[in-house]
Subunit: 481 residues, 2 copies
């Protein structure tokens, strides 16, 4: 993508702001204006949208973030926060006039307290490195997005991220005890703490999942959990999507609570087999069900799951008998997104639905896919109804991306219709902002925007996201066109 | 307590409002103005404060609540919502000029879906009756306040209530998926749903624990969980508070997650023995630790707990061997508040602290108690650091209540100092509103009040609570004196 050379007025503004920012941070190299370098920040994992920011700054402390935001507020310059840039919804997508605040340098562990079951970290720390800091003491941090090797806790908080094991452990908001957050005016607030949110209005719950609309979270106190005694997956193959969906609903209804129930369909299985040869059976629908506990508890749960599954006539019920077999069962699921990327461009959706609606929704996605003439592969967290349909398209075929986006919108509308919502764990970002009206009426959106007004009255913070552009335009100082 | 007869202007206003309200509800008997009847609503469980409301209305549907609020907004009359009136913090305390909206008639079950693991109820339904509606299918609703036989789900949501078993299952906010809420202007909003909160700002998390400041929640979708295979308590006796506190911290640090760790001290044990003869040992500090799971899992957890406890030289380690013994172990704990009420007036505090601070805080409470010359009995959820010190006083001794309140404030300040907060599960209400400044700075309170402004711009809804009176006065149209 060729960018036109910026004009001299833009360069002067950029250099003036960068000069003030350099005076505010200890390491002058933390402020980046060279277009060759700011290009590295032009997109996140929703890479169909790209735009380099005006300036990038990489602060090292909460105080530096506060100084940077104070300057941006004074200058009236928009700000876009970025964790690790793994957002699938364009949550960290810059605008050309924005200062991007990257958290990559802020990855320190500030406190570990096993008896209080908590860890406090700077929010640039990656998800997996949080577990890394406590696993020696027998603990782990539960939310496990697929991107956990790369994604930052700050982004997890912004998007209220989940993962395969959230069926049992909940998503980020269930594991977040407190934050240090910098408001757009540079003031620093503490919400929650070692004991979670306490007296008065629960602003901590409001912050989690607010997509960088209210402030920049720089430090977080996270709940850590004892590592389970053991875990074992089974793989169950079915000859129809509907039967697999009904089996998931029956397991949940029975009262068993596996730690994960993952679902993959035939296109997805085929792609991952080509990619990594996990040895999955060829079938229409495959479930990976994992249970945790002591050895007798695992055996008891798997016995019950086998009884239920056999009522649905599975093609295969493959129980792991070793650590190695467990890894192979998970290998294909964990490689699924990468494998699909090898065979096609794709758009990954993130709707949620009540589990009881799984058979109906899988059926209806098949019909919509056929009508649109685009293939859809399904791989998702079935146990908690968080769907990730992947729509395959060809970015080089004119009109294909637009048809893909139209189908995606239809599928997300279907999720809302059956009682689910637009996003389970990826957030709204730029990707789904125009769909917010399918979930919320004008009054609902107005209340949400009024809450943003309280924290960011001039709408400088990640402002062109989450809300439909025409709806938020007056607040952003734009025409509503 | 003698109330002066209301003057004729007040009576005229009351009758005018009541007339409009009667026209808005199906059952005219649902609007109460007779002082002999409104007296029944003059206080909640913080019975030191009493004031009958102007009018009581008991709607039956969300639409009736909306009609009532619309009339109150038009009339500019303050509103106080009430679940079952079990608030220990004065959350449902009326004012003389207010319309009280009671939810007692709204107790219907609207939907049960085991495969989606949810139930939807009207919020006047009691906590225990929620479990009652699903236990036949093998499920239960986890948060279990001591008042669960009487307290309403609406109040649980307002106060983000917990209970003995919240160490494992979390408090209300962790088990709330969606609400139907009526705003002060009579508009009806839906937040969350079968899949919990989704896209945009998490207003559902904000509503939970907002103490009726933002709207009246009339219907709630709640997470239900499979009943555990079994549960077994042990009773462990120690000769010092500090040792018992250290033992709790060691259990949590070890990674075991009991479903409950309850703590009682000598004064509390003595009172409950007199009251119900549960057969507790005479000792300085007693822990009741309950674990859940299959029989082998219970055995394994209790073996580990015994090993840890024995490192602290317990006076006794009594493991339940039958359903009957389990009931006896819980009997004293569940009777503790009632038992204390027999021997003395008391004030029940509700601070939280990090578990690692338990030994220090218990010690310091002893010192503060001695300095104040008032006895303090401790009975609380030790595993999650939610303390309930009971300060004993004599309501008939002039000055005793004031000394008791001063000591209570000192203890809550101590909780905040060590990293905890003012309230774990009872809420701020009228009881702790003047202490909010110990937890929050003026800017923090201002942001919280601005969020209330969004939902209730004229501060008609439960307005003289949660915030220090002088701080909220300008918004309530009062002088800040």
């Amino acid at each position: 993508m060729q960018m036109p050379a910026p004009d001299t007025a833009v360069i002067a503004r950029r250099d003036q702001i960068a000069g003030r920012l350099r005076a505010a941070v200890a390491d002058k190299a933390a402020v980046i204006t060279d277009p060759a370098e700011t290009r590295a920040y032009e997109c996140d994992a929703l890479s169909a949208y790209r735009c380099p920011p005006l300036v990038v700054v990489l602060p090292s402390t909460t105080e530096e973030v506060a100084a940077v935001l104070r300057i941006c507020a004074e200058e009236g310059v928009p700000v876009v926060p970025r964790g690790a840039g793994t957002s699938l919804a364009g949550g960290a997508m810059p605008t050309a006039d924005a200062v991007m605040i990257g958290l990559a340098r802020m990855n320190a562990v500030l406190e570990i307290s096993p008896e209080d079951r908590l860890i406090r970290v700077q929010t640039g720390r990656t998800n997996l490195a949080v577990t890394g800091a406590v696993e020696g003491q027998g603990f782990f941090y539960a939310p496990d997005p697929s991107s956990q090797l790369a994604c930052a806790i700050g982004g997890n908080i912004a998007m209220n991220s989940g993962g395969a094991h959230c069926l049992k452990y909940g998503v980020t908001t269930n594991n977040l005890l407190g934050v240090t957050m910098v408001l757009m005016d540079g003031s620093i607030v503490e919400l929650g703490g070692p004991m979670g949110e306490g007296a008065g209005l629960d602003l901590l719950g409001l912050i989690c999942g607010s997509e960088g609309q209210l402030g920049i979270v720089t430090e977080a106190t996270l709940r850590i959990l004892p590592k389970p005694a053991g875990a074992r997956p089974v793989l169950v193959a079915f000859d129809s999507a509907e039967t697999a969906g009904a089996c998931v609903a029956a397991i949940i209804r029975s009262g068993i609570l596996p730690v994960a129930i993952e679902y993959m369909d035939r296109p997805c299985i085929a792609a991952t087999e080509d990619f990594c040869g996990a040895g999955y059976p060829q079938c229409e629908a495959l479930l990976i069900i994992e249970v945790e506990g002591t050895a007798p508890e695992i055996t008891e749960q798997l016995t019950l799951i086998r009884q239920i599954a056999e009522g649905f006539g599975p093609l295969e019920f493959r129980e792991s008998r070793s650590e190695d077999e467990s890894k192979r069962i998970w290998l294909g699921r964990k490689s699924a997104f990468g494998a699909m990327g090898v065979i096609s461009d794709y758009m990954c959706l993130d709707g949620t639905i009540p589990v009881s609606q799984l058979p109906h929704v899988l059926n209806r996605i098949g019909e919509l896919s056929a009508e649109a003439g685009l293939r859809v592969a399904n791989v998702f967290h079935a146990g908690d109804g968080n769907m990730h349909p992947l729509i395959l398209f060809d970015a080089n075929t004119p009109g294909d991306l637009e048809r893909c986006e139209a189908l995606g919108a239809d599928i997300l509308r279907l999720c809302v219709e059956v009682g689910g919502c637009l996003t389970g764990e990826h957030g709204v970002g730029v990707e789904k902002r125009e769909l917010m009206g399918t979930q919320y009426g004008p009054d609902d959106l107005e209340v949400q925007m009024q809450v943003k007004d309280v924290f960011d009255p001039h709408w400088l913070l990640n402002a062109a996201k989450v809300f439909p552009l025409a709806v938020s335009a007056p607040r952003r100082g734009q025409d509503a066109a």
